[in-house]
């Protein structure tokens, strides 16, 4: 379960998140929608532990434990996963090398044994097949020369391998054609489980046709301004964000 309580965040004195409250329960898929600049990506980065932000007040709890003073890698080992809006390229590092290093780093931190190469390969092959990721792609340097769709699928593959207890998808649908969107959505749906929560950040309802949310939250000016069921997404698609588009507050 993810709980964000009364969170206030700024960068260089500019307020980006303003008394934000949000709870996503185990097994729940929550959609987070809102206009550009409303603070959706900021929220995802702050939860994952990016250092560029100043958390002024409030707390972020994962399964009851505060994340605020933890490094990003420690948060990851505690079960937090963030699928990036723009997955990053790591030249010269084979995708398989990266996947294994990441998985074993997390396992080690949790006091689990490292996976042997055969066990690791078995897991990768199973998940990669479902996401239509070829062996060739796994051997290439991570995300280097990958198309936008390939990068997004690679992030979902990482999510499948790392088996997080809470996953944030930051505009995973942006830049995807309809076939790629379907593959990614199927990948996400396959990971839905009673013990795993999702926060799906998106501009459009399109993704939510495939990954059907339990709840929808609308964000504007750094706070949640409306919450409802999946019908709220349909309404937003029809009316747009014009009702929410006032200038963000300046601290």
């Amino acid at each position: 379960m993810l709980e964000v309580n009364n969170l206030n965040v700024s960068v260089n004195g500019r307020k980006l998140l303003d008394d934000l409250d949000l709870t996503v329960r185990d097994g729940e898929v929550a959609a987070l929608m809102g206009p550009n600049g409303s603070g959706k990506s900021t929220l995802s980065h702050v939860i994952a532990g990016r250092k560029d932000y100043t958390v002024e007040t409030g707390d972020i709890l994962l399964n009851g434990e505060s994340l605020l003073n933890l490094e990003p890698d420690v948060r990851a080992a505690k079960g937090l996963f963030l699928a990036f809006q723009y997955p990053i390229e790591i030249p010269g590092v084979a995708t398989l090398t990266f996947l294994k290093a990441a998985l074993n780093a997390q396992r080690k931190r949790r006091g689990q044994e490292e996976l042997s190469t055969p066990d690791f390969m078995k897991r990768v092959k199973t998940s990669a097949g479902k996401l239509k990721i070829s062996q060739d792609m796994l051997r290439r340097a991570l995300n280097v020369g990958f198309s936008g769709g390939e990068k997004k699928r690679m992030d979902i593959l990482q999510m499948a391998l790392l088996e997080p207890s809470f996953a944030i998808l930051d505009e995973t649908d942006s830049g995807l054609d309809i076939d790629a969107l379907r593959i990614v959505a199927e990948g996400v749906n396959a990971l839905r489980a009673p013990g795993r929560g999702f926060l799906v950040i998106t501009h459009y309802q399109r993704l939510l046709d495939y990954v059907v949310p339990d709840t929808v939250h609308v964000m504007a000016q750094g706070r949640i301004v409306r919450s409802g069921g999946k019908e709220l997404a349909v309404e937003l698609e029809k009316n747009g964000y014009s009702d929410y588009n006032a200038e963000p507050a300046v601290a």
Binding site: E71, D73, A77, G92, L162
Partner: protein, 490 residues
């Protein structure tokens, strides 16, 4: 994969900014009086019982040196060196001409044991398949203390011995080739080396012979205030092949120590020499106190047609590095290669690169240089690619990448390209990048710590070059990279 994990484990196992080889031993030594004059040169020559021609050769170099000025064009900055405050010769007292390991001072053996270098052949053999064996020449301060596997190499006709010994056992070869690639007049440090060089390795591979094992020299500076001036000469006869590895370490000392070596390689028709260096001299402390001045001249001469010389270097140590391993591509169709990883951290200054001199027809060369600067270090690539007017069809490809870590380090690229023939094709690619916050955050979000992420990204950056190293060295180099980047993640 395993190697990356090993790197990461190694990073964790080591204390912050601990130079592993910083120990020194008290070993009684036999020194020349401090300072440099004709008497010092004669003293060294006499110690080695050298023939008259070599004494004269040294003295000629010394007189020339007196007329020369220290080069100042490199992007490095250091206080004036007092050449009269250096010992030019230091030999462990007990090591005068050991015939076998049993005669070597046990204290000396301890030093090499601590460095992890096997000098006993039976130890070197344990658990290693024959084709992976390495013959070692160990040079301690100014003298070679032991050379392993000499007999086995002799069966193949390969000569591998200290150069001081080769002067006596193979005088014709030494006289013919010494100074034929790097003349005594070449440059300030090479000329100084010619006057006072103490020891180093000599290799001769006869025509048609593929050297049955890797050859390796480990250099160790132990004495205080002592310069090391070793001289290496490698000759590959027609159609032969040899792979040679060089490693170096020094104790932690507060003062700077001078290391001015000369390496000459000669490849005759169809011969190939592969020369790899893992340079790990003491780099000084975080504030730039102490460390080795590494002013080295390395040059290979592709004298024969279809010959090939390949330099691979992993440079992590030294306070200052001034080093440009080069190839003279004299023979038609000859090929030169230079693969380099230069890592600087703390206050280190690196000015390194290569020269590819195309003289013969259809000669080709390839330069892959990866510079990584962290801390407050400065890292310069300086390279010359030139084609003589007769070097028709010459080709070069240069790729020169720099990676910056943090906000206080510098990377510089200074390429010189000179072509006197319209048929030459020279390509130069260069990039400068930074390990971005985005990359670090992405890796950390997936579970890697900051140091694990940096090691992974850097290993990816240098992968093209690591692949050129013999396997044992590649593993060692990967560990070194992680260690030398210790504390670079802020």
């Amino acid at each position: 994969m395993a190697a990356v994990q090993e790197t990461v484990d190694r990073v964790k196992a080591i204390d912050v900014s601990e130079y592993k080889y910083g120990f020194s031993f008290d070993i009684e030594s036999d020194k020349a009086p401090k300072g440099l004059n004709e008497e010092t040169v004669r003293f060294i020559s006499a110690k080695k019982n050298e023939p008259a021609w070599l004494t004269e050769w040294r003295l000629g170099a010394y007189r020339r040196w007196l007329t020369m000025l220290e080069p100042r064009w490199a992007r490095v900055d250091y206080p004036k060196i007092d050449y009269q405050n250096i010992y030019y010769y230091s030999a462990p007292k007990t090591a005068a001409g050991p015939k076998s390991l049993d005669e070597v001072d046990p204290e000396l053996l301890k030093v090499y044991a601590k460095l992890g270098i096997p000098l006993r052949e039976q130890e070197a053999l344990a658990g290693i398949s024959p084709e992976r064996r390495i013959a070692v020449d160990a040079v301690f301060d100014s003298v070679s203390v032991v050379t392993t596997f000499k007999e086995e190499l002799a069966k193949a006709g390969v000569i591998f011995c200290p150069i001081s010994e080769a002067v006596h056992s193979h005088p014709d070869l030494v006289q013919k080739y010494l100074g034929s690639v790097v003349p005594t007049t070449d440059n300030y440090y090479a000329t100084l080396n010619s006057a006072v060089f103490s020891d180093g390795s000599f290799v001769y591979v006869p025509p048609g012979v593929r050297c049955p094992m890797e050859l390796s020299t480990y250099f160790r500076i132990n004495e205080q205030n002592t310069g090391q001036f070793e001289r290496t000469l490698i000759i590959a006869g027609k159609g032969s092949y040899v792979s040679y590895l060089e490693g170096c370490t020094a104790p932690k000392r507060d003062e700077n120590q001078l290391h001015a070596a000369v390496v000459e390689l000669i490849a005759l028709d169809d011969a190939e020499i592969k020369y790899s260096t893992v340079q790990n001299w003491y780099p000084g402390d975080a504030d730039g106190k102490g460390g080795i001045y590494n002013f080295v001249t390395k040059r290979g001469d592709c004298r024969g047609t279809n010959s090939k010389i390949s330099w691979t270097q992993v440079e992590t140590g030294s306070a200052i590095t001034w080093k440009y391993p080069s190839c003279i591509l004299r023979g038609d169709n000859s090929r030169g290669e230079f693969y380099s990883i230069a890592i600087s951290n703390g206050r280190q200054q690196v000015d390194s690169g290569t020269k590819m001199i195309h003289l013969g027809k259809n000669t080709t060369s390839r330069v892959i240089s990866k510079g990584i600067s962290a801390g407050r270090s400065q890292n310069t690539y300086r390279g010359l690619i030139s084609a003589h007017r007769k070097a028709t069809g010459a080709r070069n490809f240069t790729n020169c990448d720099s990676l910056l870590i943090g906000n206080s380090s510098g990377a510089h690229t200074v390429p010189y390209i000179e072509s006197k023939t319209p048929t030459a094709q020279f390509e130069h690619e260069a990039t400068t990048s930074k390990i971005s916050e985005d990359q670090l955050f992405y890796c950390m979000q997936r579970g890697l710590s900051g140091e694990e992420a940096t090691a992974l990204i850097v290993n990816g950056f240098v992968r093209d070059v690591l692949q050129q190293l013999p396997m044992e060295f590649a593993v060692e180099a990967q560990k070194l990279i992680a260690i030398s980047l210790e504390g670079s993640v802020g």
